[in-house]
Symmetry: C2
Subunit: 476 residues, 2 copies
């Protein structure tokens, strides 16, 4: 289906703010999670707004004409979140990347959505401030994308997720109305929490045009640790126990032996072929006591080595290895592709179980499934590697992938801890939330975007693949 | 207006679950913030559900008949939040007060809404766990009420508000549909954040029937401090500076000299007639360093005394005095009534300004306005005391009260940090949020409660006092 997007040229935008060139359209047809061009997902036009007014004008006109609009920025989403599934306009927000206001006395910064996450840290770094929930992809992904999926990262175990650090938003509704949500006060009980409703809604309810972020003061002390375990089960059990013991840890990441081998192949590191836990501790004082407390708990499990920073371990290299694991997995074997990026999260007491079960299922299916993740949150990243030229392998891989998500939900967890639903996980919405809750979400979608303009084909399971959650007024 | 509530007797409830007796109805006609019976706010019936099924049956039938339902529990709200403003049914949730499940290994507890907040701490205390955002009223107010207003308390400066400690909810929509929101995982990016949407919605979108709360481990060290300043301005400036310096403080409460005098009169304490700051520090180690850091900052201002626990100061008594300040203010002078409970919150850098402005306005109006509050959050509680028999004084008091709220909003703050909008602050919704955002909230209200069954007359400014946000299907 194609839409008539001629109206975009009548909105007073500059020539270089609109493109219908095939190359530009194709570059906005996919994200990391949907890296292959499927028929029908190439947008009809790409528009680069440079102001909130531009966004408002595009949305009002598009809604008027029943043309879908899908927000886009860095394209680093892993579930097809920014793919223009129904065509129409790809609204590329990367030019709206300014720091609008900075109030260090309140630990607050107002930024536009196209700003890279790491740019916030660079901007505020001289004042000793930082944005704690930055994901591992923070140097290539945008604040807008992080808000769209309620992203989180390695430091979430101590500091929380993106939603915990957003005080308010400016956003444009489907009909072009510009709203402001939240407050600059650190708490408010005034009205419905539209801020939290928009965070994680993946651009299906509004387009965020500005965000007021909270920042934190850099801790005076940091300490890094690498712990190597004899078994993966020992590693996950030690992590679960540590978190429940209230040890004040800022990062606690599990990496299995298979992932370690892949990291070594990718970047020439020499990680041992064994289950590992990387940790970082942040404190104003007493960081050594926390490390010691952690060590004492780890020693109750099958611990092989416990190395602190400088003690034979260069933590900076380890964090780089950890950060780049997704690339390492993808490039491990030219014949093997990761099927989807798994991102389940379970209650911390169930973490050993979900990892054990994942490894058992992988062995049973005879497939490579490297595992790593933000273990302190109960988060597991797993990839199912298959030879895509073999349909039987792909099917077996898909079954394995789904079985792990199902098991996470059974354990009281969620189908996605930080990557969002996008296109990839829509089928898990009803198993996780139940029909009633999904219907309530649909009601909210219809209330705020009655014509289904914004990012159609995402989050909600659809009865037919082409059906939009809300009926468009008209289609071209 | 009265409604026919005979249908309540046909829902299979026990005899003692429904009452139309005048005394029971009148006891549900007001809360602390609306302590006088106004014409028309007495409910037509009080219903005490004992299960989620009971709540569902009542809501489905009431919605079918266009009868308003207003959730009620302890009645400790300060903005008329639980007053049945349009009559109908007062749904008293105090019998649903069970601990449904307790998972100490995950620091989680599932409770019903009628449970007192302090009961959670009593239940989990043997495991060294506690519910950090408990408000000062936690021993007499319920978890459901705290969720309805997104309450917070003295420890919010360190630990956050109620919303930060709720992982998921069971709730009943206006049509009787039971939904579950959230997850037992500590983070999720799956679908719209219905949990956060319902928290703070004051029972206007759904009736919460169960909540999954997170708990925290009790800190190993606690230390209390009382600091006495020469001027209120010095006290608030010192607080603002301390918070911005990243001192790890768990409570930081300002009490002005007038409030101190009132506390002394109420409970025979001997607080000095001077501006004070009460503090508490929580840590696993290094608590003395934090106290010392705080002291060094305080000493840059006009500090009179800095007393740590045991050093001439019994902190337990001070916290009791602080906790009971609302009562002390109310009972200070038989001829003077507090007009409304003020609860504005501003960015921390603006805290000295809002307090200074409040005192200046009070002096100008020649009215008593005691001030105290959770200063670390930028929160100010103020009461305007007037002789209600003098209409001119009442008018002057109302103007003063409103001027302070207006100023808080101008400073980037909120009309209510923790008590909600209820009936009392509806006029500030549009000045604070703008028409567009309030309209978006109205759309959500209409989407989830199209007949306006749930707690009508709250949150939204109405063009006429009797108009419901959503039109009822029929009224008796």
């Amino acid at each position: 289906m194609t839409y008539d997007i001629e109206f975009c040229f009548e909105l007073g935008l500059a020539d270089d703010q609109i493109s219908v060139a095939e190359g530009r359209r194709e570059s906005h047809a996919a994200d990391w999670g949907a890296s292959q061009l499927d028929e029908g997902v190439v947008p009809d036009a790409v528009v680069w707004p440079e102001s909130t007014g531009d966004v408002s004008a595009v949305l009002a006109a598009a809604t008027d004409r029943g043309v879908p609009v899908t927000p886009y920025a860095a394209g680093t989403g892993l579930e097809g979140n920014a793919v223009p599934a129904h065509g129409g306009i790809s609204l590329d927000l990367t030019r709206m990347n300014a720091v609008v206001d900075y109030r260090p006395a309140d630990f607050q910064i107002d930024v536009q959505p196209g700003l890279l996450g790491s740019a916030v840290d660079e901007f505020a770094g001289d004042d000793g401030l930082f944005f704690p929930p930055l994901p591992s992809s923070g140097n290539i992904s945008t604040i807008g994308g992080m808000i769209a999926t309620d992203a989180s990262g390695m430091q979430t175990v101590k500091y929380g997720e993106v939603a915990d650090w957003v005080l308010g938003l400016e956003a444009v509704l489907a009909d072009g109305t510009v709203i402001r949500t939240g407050s600059r006060a650190v708490k408010t009980s005034s009205g419905y929490n539209l801020t939290e409703l928009l965070i994680g809604s993946e651009g299906t309810l509004a387009v965020v045009t500005e965000a007021t972020l909270e920042l934190a003061g850099r801790p005076a002390q940091k300490s890094g640790v690498r712990a190597i375990f004899e078994t993966l089960d020992a590693a996950t059990a030690a992590v679960s126990d540590t978190v429940r013991s209230g040890v004040d840890v800022a990062r606690i990441e599990v990496v299995d032996g298979l992932s370690a081998r892949m990291a070594n192949a990718y970047q020439g590191s020499d990680l041992p072929d064994a289950p590992m836990v990387f940790l970082e501790f942040h404190a104003n004082h007493g960081v050594d006591e926390e490390v010691a407390l952690c060590r004492s708990i780890f020693e109750e499990y099958a611990l092989d080595r416990f190395e602190t920073d400088g003690e034979g371990t260069e933590m900076a290299d380890l964090w780089t290895a950890r950060r780049d694991l997704a690339y390492a997995v993808a490039s491990y074997d030219a014949d093997l592709d990761p099927l989807h990026p798994g991102d389940v999260t379970v209650p911390i007491s169930a973490y050993p179980e979900i990892v054990r079960e994942t490894k058992r299922l992988a062995e049973e299916a005879d497939l490579l499934v490297p595992c790593f993740g933000h273990a302190g949150d109960g988060n597991l990243h797993y990839s199912v590697l298959v030879d895509r030229s073999d349909p039987q392998l792909v099917e077996r891989g898909e079954e394995l992938y789904a079985a792990i998500v199902d098991r996470a939900i059974e354990l009281g967890g969620t189908a996605t801890g930080e990557h969002g639903i996008g296109q990839g996980k829509r089928e898990y919405m009803e198993p996780e939330h139940g029909d009633g809750a999904v219907d309530a979400m649909r009601s909210i979608k219809r209330a705020l975007d009655p014509t289904g303009t914004l990012n159609p084909g995402k989050i909600f399971p659809e009865t037919e693949s082409g059906e939009r959650v809300c009926d468009p007024v008209s289609e071209g």
